[in-house]
Every structure is written in C-alpha cells, then in structure tokens.
C-alpha cells in the first residue's frame, strides 16, 4: 500500500464527500453512499448502547449473587441488549452500510433504483430506533427481545407497546431496503454484468433482500397482534382470553429464524470478497456459493420451529423441523469448503480484512457445528434455553456477522473515505477481538451443558469459574471494539490517501476513484468476468 503513488489531483476532484458540506445536504441526500454513511453512524451508536448493556450484565454475572443491579433491571438490560443488537444493529448492519454503499458500485450503477425510498428507509429506521430508545428512557422493557406471550401481552408492566412500535416502524425500513436492492440488482446492472458475473456479495445481498421482503411483514403482524391483545384484550395468544401462546412462537420465529440469515448471509458475501482479494484467486465454485446463498434463504423459511422442540409442539413436528434444520447446514458447509479451496495455492496476505475473514470462517465453523447440537432433538431437550444457546448464536452473530462487518469495513474503508488506516493497529485489533471473543463465549458452551439457564441474574456457585472467564473475555472484547473506533476516526484526518485500489482487488468498485465521485463512475463501466485475479497485472497497478 505504501507503494501506491500519491496522485495530487485527488485533492481537487469532486467526490461524494466534498460535493456539499451543509447539514441539509446530508440529511436530504439521495446519494446511496451518503445514506450508507448515515446508517453507519446510526448503527454504531446502537452498537454502543447494546454493548454497554452487555458490559453491565457481564459485571453482574461476575459473582453468583451480585447486587450490582436489581433483578428487574437485569431483565431490562438483556431485553435492551437483544432488541437493540438484533433489530437496530445486526439486521441493518451490513445491508444498510456496506450494501447501500456497494450494491450500485459493484454492479456499475449510478445509484439504487429508488434513491428517495432509500432515504425514507433511513428515516423510518431512525424513527423506529428512537421509539425503542424512548421506551428505554421511560423505564425499559422486561420481556426479552423474543416478546413471548402471555408474559409480554398480559403480565409485563413495562413499556412493551412502545418498543413494539419502534420495531414495527423499523421493519418497514428493512422491507423498503430489500425492495430497493432487488429492483436495483434486476434492472440496473451495467453492460456485461450478467447474473453469473455478479460479485458474490451481490448474490448474498440479493438473497438477504428476499428475506427482508418476505419475512419482515410477518414480524410486523405478530407484534401488532401482541399490541392488540395488550391494549384491547383481544384474545389471540393468552389462554385466559381464549388464545394460544404457542401460536405466537410460531409466528415470531417465522420471522426471527430467517432474520438469522438476514444477519449472516451478507457476512458470507463479504467474506467471499475478502478471501478472493487477499489470496488473489478466482473464487472456487462460484455458482455453488451463489446458489448456496439462495438455498439458505429458501430453507431458512422452513426451520423456524427448531426454536420450539420443547415448547409444547408434537414430537413428530419436532422431527420435521429437526431434519430441515440439518439441511440448512449443508449450504453453509459448502461455502466454508469453497472458501478453503479458494485459499489453496493462493497468494495469501494476512492484512487486517483477511484476518477478520479467516476469523469469521473459524468462528462460523464453531457456531455452525454447535448449531447441529441444537438441531438434534435429543440434545436440544437438554441445552435449550441455556448458555449453550447463547454461546452458539453469539458465535454466529458476533463471531460471524460482526467479524464480517469489521472485515468489510476495513476492506472498503479506503474506498469510502479515500484514506488508509494504520495497518499495524488494524491487525492488533483483529487479533484482540478474536481472542477476547473466544474467551467470552467459549466458556458459555460448558456453562450451558452444565445447565445454567439463560436470562438469570443470579446463579449456582459451581458456575462461577466459567462466568469469571466470560466476563474477563468481555473486557478484552470491549478493547477490541474501541481500538478500531479510535484509529478509523484518526485515519479520516491523518490517514494517507488510499488511491483507487489499495488492495489491488478485482471488482468494479475498485475501478473508480476513492472516495467515488457523486455519480460513482466517470463513464459507465463494462463488466467482465468476476474475480479475474489470474488476468490482473500486479506489477503495473
């Protein structure tokens, strides 16, 4: 990177960043790149809020009977952590930031198909997020992010309806973003960009968008019904009103399991880009990875009741959902094996984004394999609702989705800002995050198998050793998140200019300047084969 020549005319070139500095030009922008930056600020704020709640929870769990926070407060903290992290960080994270920024750039378009709707999505997201935060300031919600009935609809005395309204509104943001991506990918590809030349990040974003559009309305309906029962006493879920509490779980997981794939599919897309760029190889099994994304999106709709094996459904229902859950593991495994084959005989450079990508593969493998335990009926009946589940989904969500987001953020940061971050700090942070993450969450597998239930503010003394390890890991993890916040912001002012393609990566987004001009490309690009590293000349770039 140091070898990239400094090109002086970059200072005077018009970019999407310097075209107008007024606040209105940002808040009323229709530029997908600026909207991506707006999202990035917003979700970073939500991540900080959700992360702070996690820090207090980990401190509470340092001792078996801590008096740091009251029982009710602890319950509100994990609810806050779940709601904020799921609905206001993980679901929007990669699609709305990297996706918003990259979808038009990667397919050679000037913007998304509906720029105004894109801005509307952000305002809906902010409105929903603000309502959720108001419910927090008002005193919080104590139902857990899963809002299980009849607790949420009849028994809880907290601000459930306000939080539901927030999630309901933010849901429309997801739907509109998904719609925007689908239309853009269908209609706005540049000349030469056929479906099987699309970057794999676009394939995974496309699969994610399908889930956005099809699953999110079900969540909206479900939460609206909870509000209806809560406000008007219409009996839908509460048996005392003639309702069925299991019906809620079916409806809730019909969204919330596909939502898991909303969180992980874009991460898989990012990793496919990073692995190829930093091993300088054509991706192995392009069609298989692309189709694996689509099959995950489709199969993901058919596995929801694996959250309910012991909830009171029939054992035969359990068997159907168990086998389907195993099936959805197969396309994930295919992806991992294809990434490994891509590394084979590559030219591997362990720069920061690559460290995150390799970390993703390792942690996602652990998360995926422990998912098999949970899909197994005979094991789930022991570990369900314990810390085993917590550990499993944090390996997927944090070890997977957040690692991919961090990797993608570092990879495309020079494209977004035109600046390079300090590489040494990047690598150190990636390693700290990896180690801190494992120390935090690996002991929770053991805790869960021993039987420690989730959502407990106090626990039996024999669980303490693992909890101390977990809390220690969380403090390392916190450092790993604070460091990038520091040096990435630092790079905005003091980082060296990046040039158009600092990593010598393939892909249309690297063919335009960094940061890109307002209309993305000086001339409409013409797409060739993707990942054509074997045809690139690394000596003359």
């Amino acid at each position: 990177m140091a070898s990239v020549a400094y090109i002086p005319q970059y200072d005077t070139r018009e970019t999407y960043l310097n075209t107008n500095y007024s606040a209105a030009s940002w808040l009323l922008t229709r530029d997908h790149k600026r909207i991506a930056i707006l999202y990035m600020f917003s979700i970073t704020l939500f991540f900080a809020i959700g992360g702070s709640a996690a820090v207090i929870m980990r401190l509470q769990l340092l001792t078996p009977h801590s008096s740091l926070v009251e029982a009710e407060t602890y319950n509100k903290l994990f609810t806050l952590h779940g709601i904020v992290m799921v609905f206001f960080f993980l679901v929007p994270s990669i699609p709305t930031t990297l996706g918003n920024f990259l979808v038009p750039l990667m397919i050679g378009a000037r913007d998304l198909a509906f720029p105004r709707i894109n801005l509307l999505s952000w305002y809906l997201f902010i409105t929903g997020g603000s309502l959720a935060l108001v419910s927090l300031i008002q005193g919080g919600v104590d139902t857990g992010w899963t809002f299980y009935t009849p607790y949420s609809s009849t028994f809880s005395n907290t601000h459930v309806v306000l939080a539901i309204c927030g999630i309901f509104i933010a849901g429309f943001s997801s739907i509109l973003t998904g719609l925007n991506f689908i239309v853009t990918i269908h209609k706005m590809r540049c000349p030469g960009m056929t479906w099987f030349r699309l970057p794999l990040f676009i394939w995974s974003t496309y699969a994610t968008s399908i889930i956005f559009v099809l699953a999110t309305p079900v969540l909206a309906i479900t939460l609206a019904l909870v509000a209806l029962e809560r406000i008007l006493g219409v009996g839908i879920f509460d048996p005392n009103l003639g309702g069925d509490p299991i019906l809620f779980q079916h409806m809730f997981w019909f969204y919330s399991h596909p939502a898991v794939y909303i969180m992980i599919l874009p991460g898989m897309g990012v990793v496919s880009e990073l692995i190829t760029a930093f091993s300088r190889k054509h991706v192995f099994g392009y069609e298989y990875i692309a189709m694996a994304s689509l099959s995950i999106a489709v199969l993901g709709f058919l596995v929801w009741a694996h959250h309910m094996f012991i909830a009171g459904i029939s054992i035969y229902g359990g068997m159907v959902f168990s086998i389907l859950s195993f099936l959805v593991a197969i396309p994930s495994a295919i992806k991992v094996f294809n990434w490994m084959a891509t590394l084979y005989k590559g030219s591997i450079s362990l720069e920061t984004p690559m460290l995150y990508a390799l970390g993703f593969i390792g942690l996602f493998t652990v998360g995926g394999l422990t998912g098999l335990f949970l899909a197994t009926l005979g094991i789930d009946m022991h570990v369900h609702d314990t810390y085993f589940v917590i550990a499993h989904f944090h390996y997927i969500m944090v070890g997977g989705a957040v690692m991919a987001y961090m990797g993608g953020l570092h990879f495309w940061w020079p494209k977004m800002t035109g600046k390079l971050y300090p590489e040494w700090w990047g690598r150190i942070s990636a390693i700290i995050l990896f180690l801190g993450f494992n120390l935090t969450f690996f002991p929770q597998f053991l805790l869960g198998y021993l039987g420690m239930p989730r959502r407990y503010y106090a626990y039996a003394p024999e669980f303490q050793v693992y909890n101390v390890m977990s809390t220690a890991g969380a403090s390392i993890l916190a450092v790993g998140y604070l460091l990038p916040l520091g040096y990435l912001l630092w790079s905005l002012k003091w980082g060296p200019d990046a040039g158009p393609n600092p990593f010598k990566a393939a892909g249309l987004e690297w063919q335009t300047a960094s940061p890109p001009p307002p209309d993305n490309f000086e001339q409409t690009p013409i797409a060739g084969e993707p990942y054509n590293y074997h045809e690139m000349d690394f000596a003359n770039e």
């Binding site: 029982a71 009710e72 319950n75 139902t143 299980y148 009849p150 607790y151 028994f155 809880s156 005392n240 509490p245 300088r280 099994g285 392009y286 069609e287 094996f309 012991i310 909830a311 009171g312 459904i313 029939s314 359990g318 168990s322 195993f326 099936l327 197969i330 495994a333 094996f337 490994m340 084959a341 084979y344 590559g346 591997i348 390799l358 593969i361 493998t365 652990v366 394999l369 422990t370 098999l372 335990f373 899909a375 197994t376 009926l377 005979g378 094991i379 009946m381 369900h384 609702d385 198998y449 039987g451 239930p453 989730r454 959502r455 407990y456 503010y457 626990y459 039996a460 003394p461 024999e462």
Partner: protein
C-alpha cells in the same frame, strides 16, 4: 448439593447417559471439522503466504467432484445425527405405563408439586430412586420451563394446557431444578431442588405430613362443595367410568364427533363446559374458569379418574335415565397409552 466445579454435569437419570453418548458423538465430529478447518487455515496461510508483491497464483475455478463430495459427506453425517437424536428424543418422551404421576404447577415464581398420595411441596421435588416418574405440568400464569440438568430433561410448562416430562432417577442425591423459560422479574430465582431418596426414605417422607389429603379425596370434597353432584349422575352425564373412554360430543362448531376423555378434555370441560358438550345433554353447566385454581382442577380430575375408567371395556355412552353410578374411592387405574392424554409433545 454438590456444588464443586466440574466440566460435565452429573448423570443422575436413565436418560442422561443416552444424551451424553449422543453429545460425545457430535463433539467428536465437531472437533474433527474444527481441527480440519483451523488446521487448513493455518497451513495455507503459511504455505501459500504472499512471497512477492507481484505474485500471481494459478486459476482454479472449481470442481464438481469436490462440490458433490463435500455436499454428500455432511449430508450423511447430519442424517445420522438426526436419526440418533430423534431416537433419544422419542425415548425421552415415552413414559412407561408404571410411571408414577406427580403434578407440577408453575406460577410466578415458584413450583408447586402434588404427589399422588397427597403430599404437597414447593420448589422441592422428592422422588424415589429407580421409580419411573411422570410429571404432569401446567402453569397458572405465564410460560415456565421445568428443567433438571443432571437428568437431561426439560419441558416448557404452559398455561391452559398440560405438558409432561418423565425420568427414572438413578442416583441418590440433590439436584438443581431450574425454570428455563423467562417468566418475569424473579425468573432467575425460580428453581429449587430435586431430592432423590431411597424408596423407603421416600415412603417415610410421604408419611411425614399426616394432614396430607390425596388429590382424589380433595377432589371429591370440591365435587360436593361446588354442587357438581347435584347434576352429574342425575340430570347431567355421569362421570363414572368416563376417564380414558371415548365420549359422543357436539363441539363448539356444532359438529358431532367422539373424543377421548383424557386430562385435557376434563380440564376443558370444567372451564369451558360448552366447548365439547356430551351429546343429548343441554348446556347447563357454568364455567369454573375463574372459580377453581389449577390445583383444584387437578384434584377434580384425580377424583374423576378414581371413579373408574379405562379398565372397563365398553365405550362410554350417555347413561340411561336414573342409572346414576355411585362414586367409589377405588384406586385410580392409569392404563391409557403414555401420550394419548395431553394436547402436547406427543
């Protein structure tokens, strides 16, 4: 209770060993793949590290043979996991006929437990060693979950329906009992202890409370107290021999069909009498939904069971006028198939 640090939970039930074997199998598979993936990452990162900035690796777009291989192998492994897991799960949900039934009622934030002989306890469950135990569970408010990690059993406990869980305790000792489904403020303290004792000690413990009243007897008193006896067996359908037999009913859609009079049917008929009306009888019975607690409903069901039931072979039909059967305090006979009785997990 043994609260020392350990890696693996104790194996204190017949099902614990089966679950642990399955876990060890999947752990073996997982360790293999984790070592494989982490090992390959480390090996490739070193073996194929970039040696010069202009290095250009070979073009390898893919291989159908490899793709099929690494699709089929995981598929086969997961099919084994599914089958084995389903076997363990079905075994864990098929209680033997001689299982002793204990009633469990969850409420925010305690477990109320009723033994068949009448002894009741809260947040502690005494069980005799080696005796199959079947818990029949319901909730008075929100969803709870009855989990005994050292027995490897867990089942949600829901309002408005009965769920079951069974085990054979195989080790004398005290074990944790947790509520595993979040149920509100004191969820973190909703739990207690399962005490496994020698059968003789269990008998001694049962006899410890001389005021204990068997549920069937308590139910009989309720039956008189609420005036049930003024209709049932006279103007209304008799309850003798009802339990476990099919009943000719008109449901709330006006459809005439037969249902089996199990616990769920009896409970529903007590709180929603018009949901399944015995054919040929008018809807005269008031709802006892807000009158009776879940415990009292269970007492009444035990009383109805004690009136005889599945042992008789003739299907139950409406009684001839004036043929009221006298209730007896006979031993309840439970010969119904293990999972035909509840709406759930069967």
């Amino acid at each position: 209770m043994d609260t020392t640090f350990r890696l693996f939970p104790q194996q204190a039930s017949q099902g614990a060993v089966a679950v642990d074997h399955l876990v060890l199998f999947e752990l073996g598979v997982s360790v293999f793949f984790i070592v494989l993936i982490f090992g390959l990452i480390a090996y490739f990162a070193i073996r194929y590290r970039r040696r010069s900035p202009t290095e250009k690796p070979p073009y390898i777009p893919g291989s159908n043979a490899l793709e099929i291989t690494w699709t089929l192998i995981p598929l086969l492994i997961t099919v084994v996991m599914f089958g084995w897991g389903a076997k363990v799960f079905v075994d864990a949900h098929t209680a033997p006929d001689n299982a002793m039934e204990i009633f469990v009622i969850g409420k925010q934030w305690m477990w109320k437990i009723q033994h068949p002989e009448g002894r009741r306890e809260i947040n502690t469950l005494h069980v005799p060693l080696g005796q199959p135990i079947k818990l029949v569970m319901t909730s008075q408010d929100v969803i709870h979950d009855f989990s005994i990690p050292d027995f490897r059993v867990k089942q949600d406990v829901l309002p408005g329906m009965y769920t079951t869980e069974w085990f054979v305790p195989t080790r004398v000792g005290e074990y944790h009992l947790f509520c595993d489904q979040y149920c509100g403020a004191k969820h973190g303290e909703m739990g207690g202890t399962v005490v496994v004792c020698e059968p003789a000690d269990y008998e001694r413990w049962l006899a410890g409370d001389l005021t204990a009243e068997p549920p069937a007897l308590a139910g009989k008193k309720l039956f008189t107290l609420y005036g049930c006896n003024t209709c049932h067996g006279q103007y209304g359908p008799t309850l003798a021999g009802l339990y476990g037999h099919s009943v000719d009913i008109i449901d709330d859609h006006g459809v005439r069909r037969t249902v089996v009079a199990d616990e769920a049917y009896l409970r529903e008929s007590i709180i929603y009498p018009d949901a399944k009306l015995v054919y040929g009888y008018p809807n005269r019975m008031p709802s006892f939904k807000s009158t009776l607690s879940e415990e009292q409903i269970l007492d009444l069901i035990e009383y109805i069971k004690s009136l005889g039931g599945a042992a008789e072979t003739s299907p139950y039909v409406g009684p001839p006028i004036g043929a009221a059967t006298q209730p007896t305090d006979a031993e309840p006979k439970i010969t119904n198939p293990p999972f035909a009785n509840y709406r759930t997990n069967q």
